[in-house]
Amino acid sequence: MPEQAEGTAGAPTREVRDFLRRRGEQIAQRWADEPLFRAVFTVSRDEAVEAGKAVVDALAQVADAARVEDPDAAGFTAVREQLARMGAARSRAGLSTAQVSSELAALRPPVENLLVADLPEDAAVEHVRSCVTTLNVLMGTLRVVVMQTALSEGQALIDRQRLQLLEVATPVIKLWDGIVAVPLIGTLDSARSQVVMETLLESIVEQQARYAILDITGVPTVDSLVAQHLMKTVAAARLMGAECIVSGIRPAIAQTMVHLGLDLGTVVTRASLADALGYVLHQLGVGIVTPGTNGSVAR
């Protein structure tokens, strides 16, 4: 929705906008002495003033678009990153979310004082009150913006860590030239299965592995979804030119699978990882000779 078209800002909003444009420098100067700016911009006060001016400009733009209540207003875009950095810096310094929020709240009174002083002396009480209210709303929205970015930073961190955890939990092990194995431990949900599939297929390419063993000894239950994921992985590996063997289907799981009518189709399965390795070595034409009993070949 084009913001200009909405630019029918009411009189108080226009007043606040003009005030912000006019007094940007002074507001920024006052903010530079507030704890939030002082704590974040420790090197130079000028830097704090510059940052403050950018925020005032953004607020003026938001007021110009008559979106003082909208944290998503385009006017905030330019300073969103800077605000996020400021919020993050205070969090790192050990402040709780509530403390950061009150530091932000402390930015309002100096602006309000300037505004009231700036309004003509003969201005109607009603008008003064509406202007102050508009400014308060705008400053409240600014707080929401900072809190939002802080939260989304946190969420992004959680997302990154979750993904890292998934990758860490999925080691692909080279067992032999051309043979890789993934011991799966824990529940296989959709996100995890996707990571397993991608990691395994990547390592098939890297290792030029003609055989891949998916060991599910550590998977507590196999339902239709897990079976489906296993089948998909096997099918994708086959398209790339590798054969997958599923090993470690415990008797209890085998029973459940039969009960559920789950069929792994043409997938080669073995009871244990060792059995699977023996099968693959045999396929590759590799014999295992036990020293001493010269010539006896396993499996």
């Binding site: 599939m197 991608e198 297929l201 990547e202 098939i204 390419v205 030029q208 592995a209 003609r210 998909k232 099918a235 994708a236 590996a237 086959r238 398209l239 790339m240 030119g241 590798a242």
Partner: protein, 125 residues
């Protein structure tokens, strides 16, 4: 299209037009008949996407070369492409696959029509 003894090597690259893929299918059949090749290796390691149209063409090439007493091996499919094809429901059951051209050559040598694994020996009778 490159000829290595009894084997034709086809390298597909980038984003293929539908018409290019269809043309390849026709050309390949002709070349097999003309050259008497017994194996076709299609290298798809440079292909970023295989949709159901190209997937169908690849499956048809495999089927068609089988009828012409040759064997097709699909080589070097990327993981992302393989995952997508499986989600699409296209697992190309009749197509042989290999990780690399070297392995494909080996497969073609081992499973030559005379081999008991080939099954093509019977078709030739």
């Amino acid at each position: 299209m490159l000829r290595l003894g009894e084997v034709l090597l086809v390298t597909l690259q980038g984003d293929l037009h539908d018409s290019t893929a269809q043309q390849l299918q026709e050309d390949l059949a002709e070349t097999i008949v003309r050259s008497g090749a017994t194996g076709v290796i299609i290298d798809v390691s440079g292909v970023e996407i295989v949709d159901s149209f190209l997937g169908r063409i690849l499956a048809e090439i495999a089927g068609q070369t089988g009828l012409l007493a040759a064997r097709t091996v699909l080589v070097g499919m990327r993981p992302a492409v393989a995952i997508t094809l499986v989600e699409l429901g296209l697992t190309l059951p009749g197509v042989h696959t290999a990780l690399s051209t070297d392995v494909a050559m080996e497969v073609l040598r081992q499973q030559a029509p005379s081999s008991r694994f080939g099954g093509l020996g019977q078709e030739r009778l």
